[in-house]
């Protein structure tokens, strides 16, 4: 396991040094800064607009970071031939693959934490709320981190068999589909005009595609006051669901990477 952690730590260092990631992060942070000025869009619901938009910016930025960070990870190692020096040591391919992924997840944790802190500071300055409100808002970025870890698993899995450019579109597409899965499924399932076969197909898709919408739990944070039962259980189950999907994707990725010519 030591090899895995060493690779992960190196990956974090590389991620911090990558300018493209820093630029994306900076744009996200800048957007978070100007969001409180958008509260004028709603006279009484200014808090809803501010929080909702801040979370949307954070989610979008995190998704972009997750994709850009992971799609180049393994192809770059192969292209620069640095992979040979690693694999020539007593390091298994699956260890290298897992280490790279864990490095990406830790980098995402770092970046999301940075954005969260910045968001909470900006929110505290402009909206002037109690600490308890700030703490409750911090729940959502945790879910985003799990969501982005899942997205990173999708991207790194796909990166074992396609080029980075195609991977960007594929990963983004999977995330987009996974993001609209819940409302899409509800629209089809609750529409009396939907034919039964369509309902079955949509159910199958919801079951077989990683569902990113489950991690979007900001609605009660935007509109506080709605009692939610077993919130902890929901968080635990969705995190477990994410871990299951990540494990599945990493197994698939490791199996493909194991057979790949490098």
């Amino acid at each position: 396991m030591g090899a895995v952690w060493n690779i992960a730590a190196t990956t974090v260092g590389e991620a911090i040094r990558r300018r493209v990631l820093l630029v994306i992060l900076m744009i996200g942070v800048l957007l978070l800064t100007i969001i409180p000025s958008l509260s004028v869009l709603s006279a009484r619901s200014d808090d809803s607009v501010t929080v909702g938009t801040m979370f949307a910016v954070m989610r979008g930025t995190s998704a972009l970071l997750a994709i850009v960070l992971t799609v180049y990870m393994i192809p770059n190692e192969i292209e620069r031939r640095t992979i040979y020096t690693i694999l020539s040591k007593p390091v298994q391919r699956w260890q290298f693959f897992l280490g790279k992924y864990l490095g990406a997840v830790l980098s995402l944790l770092l970046m999301i934490t940075l954005m969260t802190v910045f968001m909470l500071v900006v929110y505290a300055i402009f909206q002037n709320h109690h600490a308890s409100r700030l703490l409750s808002l911090a729940q959502q970025p945790v879910m985003y981190w799990i969501e982005m870890s899942l997205l990173a698993a999708v991207a790194i899995c796909i990166s074992t068999f396609v080029t980075p450019l195609i991977n960007i579109f594929l990963s983004f597409g999977v995330w987009l589909v996974g993001t609209v899965l819940n409302p899409l499924y509800d629209t089809i399932a609750n529409n009396s005009k939907s034919i039964p076969i369509m309902k079955s197909i949509s159910k199958l898709i919801v079951s077989l595609v990683p569902n990113f919408a489950d991690y979007d739990t900001k609605n009660p944070l935007i509109n506080p006051g709605q009692p939610i039962q077993n919130q902890g259980l929901y968080y635990f189950t969705t995190i477990f669901y994410g871990v299951v999907w990540i494990a599945l994707l990493l197994i698939i990725g490791a199996l493909i990477f194991d057979r790949r010519e490098v």
Partner: protein
């Protein structure tokens, strides 16, 4: 090696089954219940592609805010029709924005008027459907219960039990403003639940005293004093209007001298003349001398779907849509009575889309309900019209527990549009008792409105 791979395939399959089971049995239903923005679904219609993208990426509230600002621009420009779809899209994007629902309801119910400033009441079921949607998405705040109750109480001005229903829900909410709570008592009075209304006043008064003691803020003592005055007035009215005597049911009302006795003959009669195509002159008699009476006048298709006497079934829409019955005509106005008569010209010629006159026959309805009358008129007529009568048009059937005045006349499409055999003729229809009158006629049958001071 192959064995390990085979095992991993098996593990992968198990993981997929576990994930799918979790998703369908617990996570999705729970997300739908607690974390979905309620209205759910994909809002594709009415949005441009970039707006759909914004929505998909979670900028729902932001997008709703932008659209709402845009709607404000349309409102300022008087382009009211353009606002309707925006209201709907905004409520789907941000179903917890109370302002959009409240303003949207008000806009739909009140602001679509004809050139004579008469509301297009065909929109009221749409406004109510929006209200129901708002309440479904925001059940924990008083505001939309208040707005909906107020729509029934003030705009629809009929079916008081509906206003009572919404105000009852309103007062259960923790965030209700104390100054709004007494509306429930007024709604009870209209619904003929006089004693319940008085008891509600007492309940509020008790709370107001406690609040004023706890906090000497001026508004608190003002609410307490207002309630005290309302209670005094109500008790005096209950006595003077003979309400308590009637309730005793021991013959004391029949024997006693109450303001509502003897019942006053309002002497209603009416005549309607088509003066120009789509323009009606409505004249008639109403013996009540003091100003304050307004008679509801309706022109509608004879076979208007869901029509009830002097109103429509406003509650028929449960799902919000913009399917306005554009082929149907429904015009409602108030006839202001002065000098014991009314005389008004109803011009429907400037708004052919609002009054299409597609059908062949039209019903003209006249309606007066004392339960909705001004307090000084109610002092004579009572809450339920016990102090009012009419030899020809008194009706005790169409509104439960209330004596109302109700009369109907009919006109044909050709008569209203002055075509066919009516091309150069002015059709006139009148009640059988109609007698021409003028403001200068004698005022022998004057209703004496009692004063609360007793002189």
């Amino acid at each position: 090696m192959w064995k390990i791979r085979k095992k991993l395939y098996g593990v992968g399959a198990v993981l997929l089954i576990v994930a799918a089971t979790l998703q369908m049995t617990y996570i999705h239903p729970k997300w739908r219940k607690d974390y979905s923005p309620e209205a759910g679904g994909l809002v594709a219609s009415q949005l441009s592609p970039e707006q759909i993208l914004l929505q998909l990426f979670g900028f729902r509230e932001f997008l709703a805010g932008i659209l709402w600002v845009r709607a404000d621009g349309f409102f300022d420009a008087g382009n009211y029709d353009a606002i309707l779809p925006i209201i709907r899209v905004c409520t789907i994007l941000d179903p917890h924005n109370i302002d959009i629902y409240a303003t949207g309801m008000w806009h739909i119910a009140y602001n679509f008027t004809d050139q004579e400033q008469r509301s297009n009441r065909r929109y009221i079921p749409i406004a109510l459907a929006l209200a129901k949607d708002g309440i479904k998405n925001n059940p924990n705040t008083y505001e939309l219960y208040f707005e909906t109750g107020w729509l029934w109480y003030q705009k629809i001005d009929d079916n008081p039990s509906e206003a009572v229903k919404y105000f009852q829900e309103m007062v259960k909410k923790k965030d209700v403003l104390p100054a709004r709570e007494d509306l429930l008592a007024n709604a009870y009075f209209r619904d003929q639940k006089i004693m319940t209304g008085l008891n509600w006043y007492f309940h509020l008064y008790k709370e107001a005293i406690a609040r004023a003691k706890k906090d000497t803020f001026y508004a608190n003592s003002q609410i307490r004093d207002t309630l005290e005055s309302n209670i005094d007035n109500t008790i005096i009215r209950m006595i003077q209007r003979g309400y308590l005597a009637q309730k005793r049911n021991d013959g004391s009302y029949e024997k006693g001298d109450y303001d509502t006795k003897p019942p006053f003959n309002v002497g209603f009669s009416a005549k309607v003349t088509v003066v120009r195509p789509r323009v009606l002159r409505v004249t008639g008699t109403w013996n009540v001398l003091p100003v304050g009476c307004r008679i509801r006048f309706i022109v509608r298709d004879l076979h208007y779907p869901n029509a009830l006497p002097a109103e429509l079934d406003w509650n028929k829409n449960d799902n919000f849509n913009f399917n306005l019955p554009t082929n149907l005509t429904y015009m409602q106005d108030q006839l202001f009575c002065k000098d014991q008569r009314f005389d008004r010209v109803e011009n429907m010629s400037k708004d052919p889309t609002m009054y299409p006159f597609d059908s062949n026959h039209y019903l003209l309805e006249f309606f007066y309900d004392p339960a909705f009358g001004a307090p000084h008129i109610q002092d004579k007529f009572g809450w339920n019209g016990v102090g009012m009568t009419d030899p020809n048009f008194l009706n005790t059937q169409i509104r439960k527990g209330v004596r109302v005045i109700y009369a109907t006349l009919e006109l044909s499409k050709d008569q209203i549009l002055m075509r066919g055999q009516w091309q150069n003729r002015h059709a006139t229809v009148e009640t059988s008792n109609f007698k021409e009158s003028s403001p200068t006629e004698s005022m022998t049958n004057i209703v004496k409105v009692p004063s609360l001071r007793g002189n």
